[in-house]
Symmetry: D2
Subunit: 376 residues, 4 copies
């Protein structure tokens, strides 16, 4: 099945494996006229690149993106934007051993069940390198949202047991620490915790929080194509995500209606707004004009060098220790991936929402400019 395609109007199709020739994406349905250059993409890719701190795999990849189509004279043409990142640092020899058994927590066993065999080099398609394609595509989406005054911002809100303190929340420090936490004290504690994990040859999980600002009300469809539902799918499609919540999320299950309902009120301009945002910016699955707020729980990195019990490909119970270059935690590098999947989802549903009202469709076609009117 077409499992590697996402989106209805702004759609992406990704490809590539950890140790193949590279990783790439085709972005189809990007509106024409968006200024775009490789640098716009590279900035995002650099944020997920390995080797940037002691908590990320020392594998060094430049992860340099090449735009192959869909951009002409510095602007998108409306036709597919293909992008590719060549793999350069793969050392297949590292992985010959893991061909022979199923790594606990990894997709080795399920891929074998599904396909009969697998590309065992570095996890193949199930590798974290697959997210390069998401980030490249998401950078285009974020660039376009920016033109519409919409921003998407993610950060680590918890690393293992260490959570950020909202009273110290400061986005500006996020990029200054290796764990992408917007709270310097929590970041320091988290780094201590991670050092301890590494000493114990162990790994840990964490939580990424994301805020979408500037989205107009009315985005998202009723029933199955709720904005909330599509965000849930988008985020849960990232490997290692085990939980997703919007607004107060699981806490709202313990709350009462009198506390959880956000009263509507009027702002200084007489527009409808809300004073609280327990709902996380969506009501009935449709954006209400407030910030979208959601969180994703990531499990601990599955690859650990501690000894583990498992089964070999030949059907023996064995003890293994997964060697190789692995992050002790996924969260810091996953921050930009969450941001990009959110941008892709929000943009797609924003475009879809343009067709919800006859009066606005009429306006659209009435004010349409004649062809070629923007060229001399």
């Amino acid at each position: 099945m077409a499992g590697s395609t996402f989106g209805t109007l702004f759609s992406i199709s990704t490809w590539g494996e950890s140790h193949g020739k590279g990783v790439g994406v085709v972005v189809d349905g990007c509106p024409a006229g968006l200024p775009l250059e490789e640098r716009d993409i590279q900035i995002y890719l650099n944020r997920r690149r390995p080797g940037q701190s002691r908590f990320t795999t020392p594998r060094t990849e430049s992860d340099t993106v090449e735009i192959l189509s869909g951009v002409f004279e510095g602007r998108t043409t409306g036709t597919p934007i293909a992008m590719m990142v060549r793999n350069t640092s793969q050392r297949s020899g590292d992985y010959s051993e893991i061909a022979s058994y199923y790594r606990p927590g990894h997709a080795d066993y399920t891929y074998d069940c599904k396909y009969g065999f697998r590309d065992y080099r570095g996890g193949g398609r199930s590798s974290g390198r697959e997210t390069i394609a998401r980030v490249a595509a998401g950078a285009v989406a974020a660039r376009l949202l920016e033109e519409l005054g919409i921003t998407v911002t993610a950060y680590a809100s918890a690393i293992g047991p260490v959570e950020i303190d909202r009273s110290r929340f400061d986005l500006s420090v996020m990029e200054q620490n290796a764990v992408n936490m917007p709270d310097p004290e929590a970041a320091a504690k988290a780094m201590d915790y991670l050092d301890d994990c590494r000493r114990r040859q162990d790994s840990c999980g964490g939580v990424v929080e994301c805020v979408v600002h500037g989205l107009p009300a009315g985005v998202g469809e009723p029933c199955f194509e709720k904005l909330s539902a599509n965000l849930a799918k988008a985020i849960f499609s990232i490997g290692a995500v085990k939980g997703f919540e919007i607004g107060d999320g699981f806490a709202s299950a313990k709350s009462c209606g009198t506390q959880n309902n956000d009263p509507f009120c009027l702002d200084e301009n007489g527009n409808v707004t809300k004073k609280t945002n327990h709902a996380g910016g969506m009501l009935g699955g449709i954006s209400d004009g407030s910030d979208l707020v959601f969180r994703a729980a990531f499990k601990p990195t599955s690859s650990i060098s501690s000894e583990q019990r498992t089964v070999s490909q030949t059907g023996q119970e064995i003890t293994v220790s997964v060697r190789g270059r692995h992050d002790p935690i996924i969260v810091p590098r996953a921050v930009v991936v969450v941001e990009c999947m959110a941008a892709l989802t929000v943009l797609d549903m924003l475009l879809v929402s343009m067709t919800s009202r006859l009066d606005r469709i009429k306006d659209f076609f009435t004010t349409a400019q004649p062809a070629g009117s923007d060229r001399p």
Copy 2:
């Protein structure tokens, strides 16, 4: 946009509003030859019907389903199965007041933003009655899964602050209590808590847990169409869901790799299995042959008769008290909805998974029987 259609091969399209003529669904892509009668559907619908306890709205609807197409001589024909439930108990007069303001926690405001106006009677399309269509379709999916040895079972695992105790877990008691909890002591406590909520003119949230048993390994696609991602979307498309987690979910974010990884081992027949199931039955988004386990967090019912602040349609800040017939909690009636959305998702992806391997496709077409061979 086609927001009311769900599924790729086994696909459903729902329609209907709270106070229109009825609610219905078209199930398209149901394989031919499944024994099916209205009674199979009615059993499921009866589980979500209102008026069954003091914790559900006293609105009495028989919710009687009519199969309109797709079944011939007691078996599905492979063509669309249309089903309809006529609304019978709607009292539109109850709702005339709410036309004039935006109910906090409801989709009134976002529907107006999106569509310019709304069917204000009982929430229109955003009403909980929309789930009738999901349950009718899900009953067909569950019936088909049963033929393949796969069962889907949901229950309330938490009502407000009251959680079930796993040591007392007993599915057989679930249907005997009004809150669908598989723990008689927790159920009793939960009912006390709900009585208290009602006295305070308040509402509360809760958690539904669901287990899918018997699913073979290899179901789910890599990347965006992971089984986990599609379950997340399916469950988050249910109104009032604010959180979703698989296996250990948010707890895994605080865990370590050494604890969270499930070691593989061999069962008595020498087949690969796992002793623990922190992963909730999916690795890399693909089923691993273990039970799928996931949870959904529901927010408190938005309609409460306590006074709330909000904004009127004419742009005044006002105080309101939402009257009408409402459940103080959504969870007990949502249990069967979760079950049905899970059945729909699992079945669809199971069918898709049939095409993953050339060797099995070859076998399939080699062993195909000639046309009409099953008729005398």
Copy 3:
């Protein structure tokens, strides 16, 4: 598979069999605010209703449509519009015989191959009654297109060997003759030919031509989602269609570039236009602002009372004569079906085309009115 759903943003899902309880459709994605009542639909359904002339089956069905959802206070709400036509005149006894053999030219055999058995009453799902659902949905699309100044008009351009003479073309006479031909002389000849067919217990084919007027340039997507490609699919999805061509169609295969290319020129307002329209209104699969013009070839009605050789369900070669109430020609009643499939396709792609340019998307969101601004 979801074979009964059509369209991306304006999407329809149909259901129903010839001799089941009825036939219906769910229209999903219809923009909100369109004035709509059952009468708008009924006018279209009446155009395809049987029993209106000696060339259509004497089966009398009122084919009365009921709108079940999606319309409130006379306007569409943006949520699914379900419509149903109950079957009233089915006489299942007529069809008991055809359960026992495969009718030549019909889908009896292929349904058996696909599904293992079939609803043999009147062709079940493969009956022409399935088109009721297309016409009901198409009537909504045509109504919406009308609001945007776009009209879709189809007519019979050939009945068997009788073709219309373009010099006598007169749309006003089309509705006055039983064969829906816009040429009174050709219509008279065609009726003579059909009388002859009936005497010979035979049937005949014909051609339907369709013109879409008022469509702006720029509708249709490059590559696979060309407007031409989607029209081809839409029209070829109508039973009995065996050919489809746009503009000069098959004749262009015998033409030269110097003759077939349409030169661009300027109209009196200085806008780009064309003097000829060999292309049929599309270049590169995208509308060019001229009229869309296309034709569909329909095969002769398969049900004939002449003797034919075939195979019985028990595997014997036999001679049969298909009894029952059948049209000697499909074309006159197919005219409105072609019109409706064209309207559905054009509208869907028109909506999709709104998202092709960033500058226009920016304008759209800049001029958006605040929520609820169209209510007092």
Copy 4:
């Protein structure tokens, strides 16, 4: 919109322009275990490569394909197969002039209407080079169909006014002549005609016929996803196609039921078959086990060096002569494109058809082998 993606289970996404960095495709949903190497693709690409005769553009491109992902140890892995052909011979200088006006018959004007500007170099995305991606993907589909005993064969059946004589039909000569006609006499006449066209600085159209052999009965879905409808869309998505017909096609519109119906009979093994094939292998849109037969009409090449009237980008009526390297006819090189689009369509619907019957689904899951059983 995602206009560059085609297929449901076996899905392709294409990208690239005439004068960009290259052209490519992502094939998603290819079953695992298919032996595949670049040579399998290159054989197909070589059949559409320019510069092979005096009737094709002298532009010389090696059109060498690179497989970037999805193949491991010589077999497909089930994950996306990305393929790319770098452009090497583009001479952008050739095309600077055509930036200034709208070429008659081309998509220059409609792209400008849609997108506001266009990549004018060689037609950009609307260039015939876009079909490289279709052919690369189609080669994979054809390779897989071959494993299932299904073959797809196309050829030119008419070049301008010259048609093949069925009594001289000989597939073996097709590859020996420059026009891909399976009739040596017609091929000779066609080449004379083409020489004459070139002398007159003109171009001509033609017809491609295609036969699919070995497809089992039961492929194709009722209603909108008929095999016929999807083939019509697939073929009409090829630039320059203006007509499509199945079996007797437009001729059936002039035929009678007694002639057009194909009687069923029994073959020597007692299986149901047909002696004639007016239907072209499909009944009710579903394959009947006979050969699929269809034809596509191609318009004359739009680029001609004869003088033509048109409009400049600055809004002046002008006279132009399109210079550059162009084929006087599209048909010979389009043969393999038709074949590939047919292979893609047939394979996708074949996979979908696996899920039509419960009994066969049960068999499938009952006989499933345990994971990894095909590895030692």
